[in-house]
Symmetry: C2
Subunit: 323 residues, 2 copies
Amino acid sequence: MGTGPAVLAFDVGGTDIKAALFDDAGRVLGLSRTPTPLEPGRTAASVTRRLGELSRELRARFPEVEPVAAGVVVPGIVDAERGVGVFASNLGWADAPIRALASREIGLPVAFDHDVRAASWAEHRLGAARAFDDVVVLVIGTGIAGSLILDGRPHTAGGYAGEIGHSPVADSPRCACGAMGCLEAIASAGAIARHYAERSGRPVDGAREVLALAADGDAEASAVWSEALDALAFSIAQLTAVLAPRAVVIGGGLSRAGDGLFGPLRERLDARLSFHRRPELVPAELGEDAGLLGAALIARELDGDTAADDPDVTGDADAEAAG
Amino acid sequence: MGTGPAVLAFDVGGTDIKAALFDDAGRVLGLSRTPTPLEPGRTAASVTRRLGELSRELRARFPEVEPVAAGVVVPGIVDAERGVGVFASNLGWADAPIRALASREIGLPVAFDHDVRAASWAEHRLGAARAFDDVVVLVIGTGIAGSLILDGRPHTAGGYAGEIGHSPVADSPRCACGAMGCLEAIASAGAIARHYAERSGRPVDGAREVLALAADGDAEASAVWSEALDALAFSIAQLTAVLAPRAVVIGGGLSRAGDGLFGPLRERLDARLSFHRRPELVPAELGEDAGLLGAALIARELDGDTAADDPDVTGDADAEAAG
């Protein structure tokens, strides 16, 4: 990722934490993936404490590298400006001052953001989105996450923007989030596998198997895949009319279908539109470490003022257990 | 609209041109509405020539007011940055350098923008949207136009953004634009009147009459109105998930239905959403002169550089007739 100050980077997920040190040449050192310590009612404390341990391990292993900041990215609703994890169902926190807690544990200034927004920012700075000032990034895996870069800047709306997976494309089925007809409930890899199993009565290993079955002429697989493509084209048509991005970058497991996804999606999108300016549909380039790269980037871009307004967390972080 | 330099303002529509002079106290002087000179193949020339005549009339009538700039707003696809009317079906121009032509005819620097974006900017600076940095403005009349203000700035994407009226909410009916299931084809005042006439076989004077019939228990009117409300709620739910605006300001003829529109719309929007942050739904405040006010505002905000890159139009403007 080019030269710049050395930084620590952490991508916190519901299952594991990816950690690494980036040196001043942009080389990644000591990349590790360890389980996320989920302690019901005190996950913010246990996770940030773990980030402190991982920092000390990395610094002990690479004493010649002197990081000046750390980047921490997490899932859920994230208010990057305030440094707060507003809500994350798989981590169990609500309104947790993650940036301040992490900064105390790591002993460095911390840049804090949403995992998919950070990954999208990495695609914008280093990957498939770098040619575009107006670009939407969609990550299609078990769920569907999105992120908007408009006029070259992330549009976050306090962490609530970019929920393209939970934007309606139909009146059914009910989504896990509680709303009806969300894109994620029809077109995520998870939904594709689930719908095929429901219709055919045959469980499958994942969306990839449904696509293979569709390619082999399985009618139920073809129908499920076609519905997913229609829903994606519908959603991208909405984005096109409202935001007119120059490109939609698609990453996540489903994007590995390559032309099997991008070809029919381009056709269906084109058929839905009239005078609208078509966006390019392009595959993400950075792969599954995009979030970690994004964490390193935001740490390098950190300006000294960011954490100045953070709440005082010198007290017991475990106080969250009461919340 | 407060104190500032005196400016000329023109709101060019497919039927008429509104023109006025705003003095340095923000008072509107000599407001007029005259027919738009539509000359097939040379409308850009005839319209901008007419703007020159209107300027001279206003300046002759109010010689004590010395305008320093003019604001010109037009419908269609508008690239404000380049000063170009990209396309306007009701004015018949394509890629017309309106800003440069108007500036030559008026003899002053010209600020140029899209009519609904300018009206929305006026709502943001002076009206219902002034408390919000992230706000969507919807104007629901014969058609549906939209405009986005994100992080306090208009998001235009070269004039293609904000086409909420031509964003899909369903798979049918076909819209006049050629696409299927556009919001405008279901929920505009024009569509409401048309759909009622089609279903009932009884022509109506407009959406207002359909709403009155629905209030009186007419089943077909109720069904048409309910479908329009569902489509609007669907569209605003999309905007909420993707952009998370703090408010959606609704203007245009349909907004005069007041609580008859805003009440059921709030309920349906709320029912569609889950974890999403609800936007306020608020009526526009500035009325039908919002576009003209917006033209005056952008003229006052004009920075001297804007027109520096304009193409040379010292030649014959009628050359467009060849296009």
